[in-house]
Symmetry: C2
Subunit: 283 residues, 2 copies
């Protein structure tokens, strides 16, 4: 019987800690402040942003939504970011991706004060992670959430063979860096990889962040594999599924994060955690 | 019969191009300028710095050596770097590692203007490499030199299985990033790795950057492996050797960079190349 790694429970535990921390900070005159910048009317983005706002309010975090028109110019957007960089009530800034095509996302992210870059996407913060510099600095939230999930489920990564499928800058690469920093042997696979099975044969932990339903199934793994499924896909019936199919009685997968209810809830919980931490760094 | 990848020849070709570029730039009123900061009297460091200075002069690059006393304070060193950051004759700054223990190398490197960080060690430049942002920005010289060596020897990395042994911030990690950006499937191995042979069995290219004589030999590889040996070690007899032993008649290694005469010469040649390029970027 497969063991499910319960992301909802882990997120709830993390949120409770964050809430208590906010309460403590407020007693000491500090109110964590998150600004979310949303441009245009992407439906998925609007939903994510609403979830983030709602969660921030629930935990007592001050949150501001800058919902900007699709037609905003890059100069205007950069000005708004500059204002938020100097806003003392705001210690965490998040620009919801994707931006409309006429806006250069790289340039916009680079304009965020690295000390307020709660998504950990600014080149300086990415570099610090990659160099494994001592913190504090923000780290991409989904990868950090996965590390928390592994730790709270007593899944050791030091010396483990980890296969990371996907090399995006939002999940694959920063998660590979965190794992490497924690002592894992990491193989990074992607669309150019010749033969995935070469790597899956010796993997202790497989992380799929491809975004493709039915990409992998139980037979692809060696016995006792831990699978972290970061995929969020709609299947043929319109249901939310991950990248990995598995029967209830798995032969090879020992533990897996279900979709929904696995990695997903950890992303927003980690965003909240990091918002609050950043209000404490005093940088 | 093993085929040797000739780093001396590749470095010479690169140096000739660099020299021609310097001549061209001088005709247009631009003189590339390199500042090397050396603290104390580490013998190996002094030798490297002399080699760098000599090569710069040979190519027509203006070069300055700031040889500072062992006892210099961090504040004094940071002031010297600030002065170089503002010196219009200098477009490339290099702080020779290692620094004496009382100086925080991370802090010193972070003080270099990222646009003058010719070693590509500044977190912002590391982050850009890791994010695979469009350039120009400086990249660590040994890794970039290895990529040049692979390209000039028609060794394709796209889709290849590459095993990177070593996860240092100077070689292993930035080289893994360059390879990943170029479409390779990359496994990063290190001292915590459980079983190196799992990975060597399916590798097309193995890069060793451990710094340990006799770490690997021909029998460790699968047939037709390309080996890039970044190790620089002294063996029992006091000879400079790499990490990999191999007989002249190899069974498995198809091509290898010898030590000396392989990767070594590419590092300084790439440093010179990058110094000249940075004088052109106008940033």
């Amino acid at each position: 019987m497969v063991q499910l790694i319960d992301g909802r429970k882990a997120a709830q535990t993390l949120n409770e800690k964050t809430k208590a921390r906010v309460k403590f900070l407020k007693e000491h005159g500090i109110i964590p402040g998150l600004a979310v910048v949303l441009v245009g009317h992407n439906q998925a983005s609007e939903r994510y942003v609403r979830m983030k706002e709602k969660q921030a309010q629930k935990l007592g975090i001050y949150s501001v939504l800058k919902h900007l028109p699709e037609s905003i110019s890059e100069g205007e957007l950069l000005e708004i970011i500059a204002t938020l960089n100097h806003d003392e009530q705001i210690n965490a800034i998040l620009v919801q991706s994707p931006l409309p095509d006429h806006l250069d996302e790289t340039k916009v992210i680079a304009a965020i004060d690295p000390n307020k870059d709660v998504d950990g996407f600014h080149p300086t913060n990415v570099g610090k992670l990659y160099l494994n510099l001592p913190g504090p600095y923000p780290v991409a939230c989904t990868p950090r959430g996965v590390m928390t999930l592994l730790a709270t489920n007593q899944i050791s990564v030091r010396g483990a063979n980890v296969v990371m499928i996907g090399k995006s800058s939002i999940v694959g690469k920063p998660l590979a860096a965190l794992l490497l920093n924690a002592g894992a042997t990491v193989s990074i696979l992607h669309s150019q990889t010749r033969d995935r099975s070469d790597f899956l044969k010796t993997a202790d932990i497989v992380i799929s962040a491809v975004g493709k339903a039915h990409l992998l199934n139980d037979t692809d793994f060696q016995p006792q594999t831990v699978v972290i499924d970061v995929g969020q896909n709609l299947d043929e019936a319109g249901h939310l599924v991950g990248d990995v199919d598995y029967p209830e009685t798995t032969v090879n997968i020992a533990k897996i994060t279900p979709v929904p209810g696995g990695v997903g809830p950890m992303t927003i919980a980690t965003l909240m955690q990091q918002t609050v931490e950043m209000s404490e760094w005093g940088i």
